[in-house]
């Protein structure tokens, strides 16, 4: 167990954007919420998965909806707390701790604010090891953990308790409710035992985000390129360096789908990368050859600052370094790929782990 200070939270927020693989929402608002909560209620404890007793109840806390709404309509701050209360009373059991459902992007921060408010520990793990757009896309689903009972609250005081037959149904119902409730809600979801947590969680992801954020900050201080360090920490691969020459976008059913075209620079001159995204980056190919695909992580980094560039920020003329990071093994199972493999997102390709795609290629 250790305490997270202000610097740790700043670092996690930066690292979470890399794990957000272009989506997941800017952690900025979540970070300010966490910082304000820590100022009011004191620091947060981060504990290892193994520190959670098998029979303890752990409940993830998450935001659902549009990050663009959240930057304008900031939460009240009590919503996650109310969702927790509702779930606790419904289940008739005390909650031991909370955890992030999604270490990538904004949802890395939401449990921190809540944990400070309630004096509960945050578990150093999450349910994705990255960001994904839908509720059921968590490793817990693979291990049969139900997303319900699920409590959903808005800032106005409305709250809903859901019981569904599948996690996919939770996604469908909660999404509609969220839109009606004003575009962003807070959830207490996937209540699970310590035993289930140990089986299903992607471990160490808060610490991973923190070390990524720290590496970027320290590289900036020392005026060195953070890329090597980022690749080392994540066991990642350098996919491409280029300038964006075109970005095509369209929205369908709440998904910002699109494609960014990069023209190569430096050693990638005369090559072209196509990066396809649906909120998150999904498939990266160079000159028609796929280098990485979902569920492996694909992130774009600003070559000057080392800071991640989200898909909403991708714009004509920007320079970016594209990296690929192996996803958690749980996603590479048959069940995992059914949930988040390329075919789920509409790509008629087989998933090949990034390590295999790069086998024999000299890695920097």
């Amino acid at each position: 167990m250790r305490k997270l200070d202000v610097q740790a939270i700043e670092d996690i927020a930066v690292g979470a954007t890399i794990l957000g693989t272009g989506g997941g929402g800017d952690p900025y608002i979540g970070k300010l919420m966490a910082l304000q909560a820590i100022e009011e209620y004191g620091p947060v404890s981060l504990i290892d998965v193994d520190e959670v007793p098998d029979d303890a109840l752990v409940v993830p806390s998450a935001m659902m909806g549009a990050p663009t709404v959240l930057v304008e309509k900031i939460p009240n701050g009590e919503e996650p707390f109310k969702a927790f209360e509702l779930l606790k009373n419904h289940m008739g059991k005390d909650i031991f701790g909370t955890i992030s459902i999604e270490a990538g992007g904004l949802n890395s921060m939401i449990p921190l604010a809540l944990a400070a408010r309630l004096g509960l520990p945050v578990v150093d793990a999450d349910g994705m090891g990255r960001a994904f757009p839908e509720l059921q896309m968590v490793t817990f689903t693979i291990y049969g953990v139900s997303s319900t009972p699920l409590a959903l609250c808005d800032e106005k005081g409305n709250n809903v308790l859901l019981n569904t037959i599948t996690n996919k149904w939770s996604e469908r119902l909660a999404r509609v409710l969220t839109v009606e409730m004003g575009g962003s809600t807070m959830l207490a979801i996937y209540p699970m035992t310590g035993k289930q947590l140990k089986k299903g969680a992607v471990r160490g992801t808060m610490s991973l985000a923190e070390s990524l954020g720290r590496a970027i900050r320290e590289s900036k201080l020392n005026h060195v390129d953070p890329l090597d360090k980022i690749l080392e920490i994540t066991n990642g691969y350098l996919l491409f360096k280029g300038k964006i020459t075109d970005v095509l976008r369209k929205t369908t059913g709440g998904f910002a789908r699109g494609k960014a075209i990069f023209e190569g620079i430096d050693e990638y001159r005369d090559k072209t990368m196509e990066l396809e995204f649906q909120n998150e980056n999904l498939v990266a190919q160079v000159n028609g050859q796929i280098l990485a695909s979902v569920p492996d992580l694909i992130s774009v980094i600003d070559p000057d600052t080392g800071k991640p560039i989200t898909t909403e920020m991708l714009r004509y003329g920007y320079r970016g370094v594209v990296i690929g990071i192996p996803c958690n093994e749980k996603w590479r199972t048959e069940e995992g790929l059914k949930l988040v493999g390329p075919r789920y997102f509409g790509y008629d390709i087989d998933y090949i782990p990034i390590e295999e795609r790069f086998k024999g290629v000299r890695v920097k």
Binding site: M33, Q36, I74, K243
Partner: protein
């Protein structure tokens, strides 16, 4: 003949130009920026008036670009205490106003804030009704204690009604004793950033009044009865009345002015611009005559805002950069003699080898006394020149938007050090008067307006929504003083909202036009 004067107050120099009706440059000057700013303005004004010898009665317009407001925020000087009112309860309580601000700035502005009931959803529906008793209470608390109020409301860029109502009530109850700034006029989506900018804007009210008064006084003393404009960060102008309301808009106008000046002087709308000063160079890019802007909002004095700045690369290369040889290798700077180059460079009788000396020794430039660099090792000169060339080439390539050669415009006092042939450049233009490009940029600036709103595409098509947004931008532009037939849409961007079903899109349009004489 009607003349106009453009003045740009930069960190190092205050530049001024006089243009005639055909935009011909008839006088120009470069003087060091004074500590108090205003005496430097006097000096540059006197210089150009003396040079041109025009009748001051014929000066119709004076345009000023200044770092005044930026300095006030950075140095925390002359700022007013502001009462902050945010409309949005029960939303937004999780992040209070001014969270994350530097403590000295909070001390300067005070930390008096209210979060009251109200605000809107993304589709324009109310989150909560305004509570008039609550508003009365707030007004009682601020009455007589504050000179300025900053109001923000959740989703006010989508629905302005709550901000409008509160503004009206405060003005009714407190009259002209208090300045009221509303966030929808200051910034776009992103409550915290927009609120921050609104608070800073309210705090700058005293600073801008003092500046405008001082400047108007300076003009009066010289017998100039001209219309006065101030430069904005987006490369367009605003009237003094407008600037009094929106002083924050003067922030970061400097780099924009030099890029706009480069576009005007060269008559090229799409190009890379290298602005070489004494110590550093700024490399930016023009798209349709305007600077391409950075993706992220800028921090002003440690406060996050949603103002966008030109996308610039700054490198440590200028006309005063010191050139050394070590172990057979040439090293450029990073130190520079800066504006003292006119005394310390070899060609001007000094004893420091600078990049300007290299340019003269190689025959690239003809200034100073070339005899003084005649005996310098030709090999060293060649190597130094190659080094300059490579440094500029790499950074031009970095900022370029696409592969292929682009025109390059060189401006700034130090631009003579850049070689005549560069990789990646289709042509290199060194426009006449390039050393005062920023003052020219101010003088020729247009008036502009921007709108940034979320549109629902359920009932209108995307192209119809964009058309509506363009018309709104044009109307705003006319309000700001532009001549309708000259107005052009200079920027257009739409970004669909992610993670929400239903087709909502955020459209940002910028329009600009010539001043209606």
């Amino acid at each position: 003949m009607i003349y106009r004067i453009g003045i740009d107050v930069g960190g190092t120099n205050t530049d001024a130009v006089i243009l005639d009706q055909d935009n011909k440059i008839i006088a120009k000057t470069k003087t060091p920026t004074s500590q108090d700013i205003i005496s430097g303005i006097y000096e540059s004004l006197d210089n150009v008036l003396f040079q041109s010898n025009i009748n001051v009665k014929d000066i119709g317009y004076v345009m000023l670009g200044t770092t005044h407001c930026t300095n006030a925020i950075v140095e925390r000087k002359g700022l007013r205490k502001v009462a902050v009112i945010r409309i949005g309860k029960p939303a937004t309580m999780a992040i209070k106003p001014m969270v994350g601000w530097p403590q000295e700035l909070i001390d300067a502005i005070g930390k008096k804030y209210f979060i009251i009931n109200g605000g809107h959803e993304f589709d324009g529906q109310e989150i909560n009704e305004l509570d008039y008793d609550e508003i009365d209470q707030v007004i009682k608390e601020i009455k007589g204690k504050f000179e300025a109020v900053a109001i923000s409301s959740v989703f006010s860029p989508v629905n302005t009604s709550h901000e409008d109502t509160l503004e009206r009530i405060i003005k009714e109850k407190l009259g002209d004793n208090i300045d009221v700034c509303v966030s929808r006029e200051i910034g776009s989506i992103g409550l915290i950033e927009r609120e921050n900018a609104t608070i800073l804007n309210a705090a700058l009210g005293g600073v801008i009044r003092k500046l405008a008064k001082g400047f108007q006084e300076a003009l009066k003393r010289r017998g100039i009865q001209a219309t006065l404009y101030l430069a904005q960060n987006d490369g367009t102008l605003m009237s003094v009345d407008y600037a009094m309301r929106y002083p924050i808009m003067t922030i970061a106008s400097g780099p924009t002015n030099s890029l706009r000046g480069a576009a005007y002087l060269s008559k090229i709308k799409n190009a890379v611009v290298v602005d070489v000063g004494g110590t550093t160079s700024d490399i930016g890019i023009l798209v349709n005559g305007f600077p391409r802007l950075s993706a992220m909002g800028v921090e002003i004095g440690g406060v996050r805002t949603n103002f966008r700045m030109p996308d610039l690369i700054s490198i440590g290369l200028g006309g005063g950069t010191v050139v050394r040889e070590k172990d057979g290798k040439v090293i450029l700077g990073p130190d520079s003699v800066g504006y003292k180059v006119a005394k310390e460079a070899l060609i001007f009788g000094g004893n420091v080898l600078t990049t300007t000396d290299v340019a003269v020794a190689s025959g690239l430039a003809k200034i100073g006394n070339p005899e003084k660099v005649k005996n310098i090792d030709k090999n060293l000169i060649e190597k130094a020149l190659l080094k300059i060339k490579e440094l500029v080439e790499i950074n031009i390539d970095k900022i370029k938007t696409a592969a292929g050669d682009v025109p390059l415009i060189l401006v700034g006092g130090g631009s003579l050090i850049v070689p005549n042939s560069l990789k990646g450049c289709s042509e290199i233009i060194r426009p006449k008067h390039c050393e005062v490009a920023n003052a020219i940029g101010v003088a020729i600036a247009q008036v502009g307006a921007e709108i940034d709103r979320i549109f629902s595409l359920d009932n209108v098509s995307r192209s119809e929504a964009i058309r509506q947004a363009e018309e709104l931008a044009i109307q705003e532009c006319i309000k700001a003083g532009a001549k309708r037939e000259t107005i052009e849409i200079v920027e257009k961007e739409d970004i669909p909202l992610a993670y929400l079903p239903g087709n909502a899109t955020r459209i940002r349009i910028k329009a600009a036009g010539d001043i209606a004489y």
